[in-house]
Amino acid sequence: MKRALLTVLEIGLLLPVCASIPIHAFIVCDADGSPAVATETVRDHISNLNLVFSQVVMDFELVRLAMITNENWLSISSSNSAQHQALCATAHGTGGIELYYVEEIDDCVAFKTPSGLVVSRDANGLSVAHEVGHLCGLTDIYDDHEGTTLRVTGRSSRNRMPNDYGRPDFSIPHAKRLERLLMYGYQNSSKLAITGGDIYGLGRSVRRNEESGNYELVWDLYNVEVGFWEHGTRTPSCD
């Protein structure tokens, strides 16, 4: 009896871990039915997503792939909130992640809205994985940024990744290590790693301005919230 109860408890604990996260993908088409991206592209992105997030035992399943015919949504301006809100209202609240594939976005390759991700044909699997990282609660990390004089210098050390596990190579410059992280703020083809613990780097933290009393984003060197065990969630949300 005790054993059976334990088994039920174990299954109950593991189920949320093992359940696939449903992906609802929509491809915008022009009036002639010509799609913004091929269906293979979407499948390729999902398989990349699964590859990256297998590190944290997350699995995504494409449960819907539908076409939307509306040529006004082929080209999206990330600053035109009325436009992308209308696009993302197509299937909000599915309980999974909604991906909207468009021909192009004016100033980036993919971006997060409160109701789903907008992805252009210029995006690759890593761009989508990076945005999903945000939906899972992780933030961007940098080695440097023109917006601040702060820089990450020096080598990696245990102190710079206190809650991360394994036996990392401490001989490499810490900035090089950051380039391998999924949440690295610059695009590259080697950013795949999701760490368990937070990592020291350059990030934006919320501070209270003593004079105005307002909270503002400021650049700082600290243990940035990229660690999945510390700040990640397996129930990604756009909010």
């Binding site: 040529e71 006004n72 082929l74 080209s75 999206i76 301006s77 990330s78 035109n80 009325a82 436009q83 192009e104 004016d106 100033d107 980036c108 971006f111 210029d122 761009s127 990076h130 961007d140 940024h145 023109e146 917006g147 601040t148 703020g185 610059y186 695009q187 590259n188």
Partner: protein
């Protein structure tokens, strides 16, 4: 040539060489900084980085627009071109128009040039005139149709935007559609 003159000439040549080297070096530094900033994942992030770099380096908005324009056109980088819209003045409209009409260039890059054109012009009379001219000059082999340009306007302005309504009234949409 006397020894004194020869020394003066030599110093002048060396100073000139040094100035050229310094100029090309600083230009390389700027190009490499823009190249790195253009790889930032998020558009807002890129805007912040570029503005901070521009202010720190002492470039005026017009100078910066010129730098971004050169880099964008050399690399066919539509994102760098798009970033230029924040700094460009109407002085750049002719160069941008040349890109919109340049059938040799990639369609997405030409569309970006049109977006910047429309933004800099404030979706005004020159923008509608450009689309009308594009409509008249449409070449069947040209992948950039006036209808595509029209859709860019739709993408940039909310449906209830007054400028969009006046633009719609001014434009002969049907003619643009026929050439699609």
């Amino acid at each position: 040539m006397s020894k004194k003159v020869r020394v003066v000439v030599m110093v002048a040549v060396l100073c000139g060489l040094h100035a050229v080297a310094e100029e090309s070096c600083s230009r390389d530094v700027v190009v490499s900084a823009v190249e790195r900033m253009s790889r930032l994942e998020h558009a807002q992030d890129r805007l912040e980085a570029m503005e901070a770099y521009r202010v720190r380096s002492g470039f005026s908005a017009e100078e910066w627009a010129g730098i971004l324009f050169d880099i964008a056109t050399n690399r066919n980088d539509r994102f760098v071109l798009q970033d230029m819209s924040r700094y460009a003045s109407t002085n750049r409209l002719e160069s941008l128009e040349a890109i919109v009409f340049d059938a040799e260039r990639e369609r997405s890059f030409r569309l970006a040039a049109f977006r910047v054109y429309a933004l800099v012009d404030g979706f005004g009379e020159r923008t509608s005139s450009l689309v009308a001219r594009k409509s008249r000059a449409q070449n069947p082999d040209d992948q950039l149709s006036p209808r595509k340009l029209w859709l860019q306007i739709n993408a940039m302005l909310p449906t209830n935007d007054v400028r969009r309504m006046s633009f719609e009234n001014r434009m002969n949409i049907r003619q643009a559609g026929e050439n699609d």
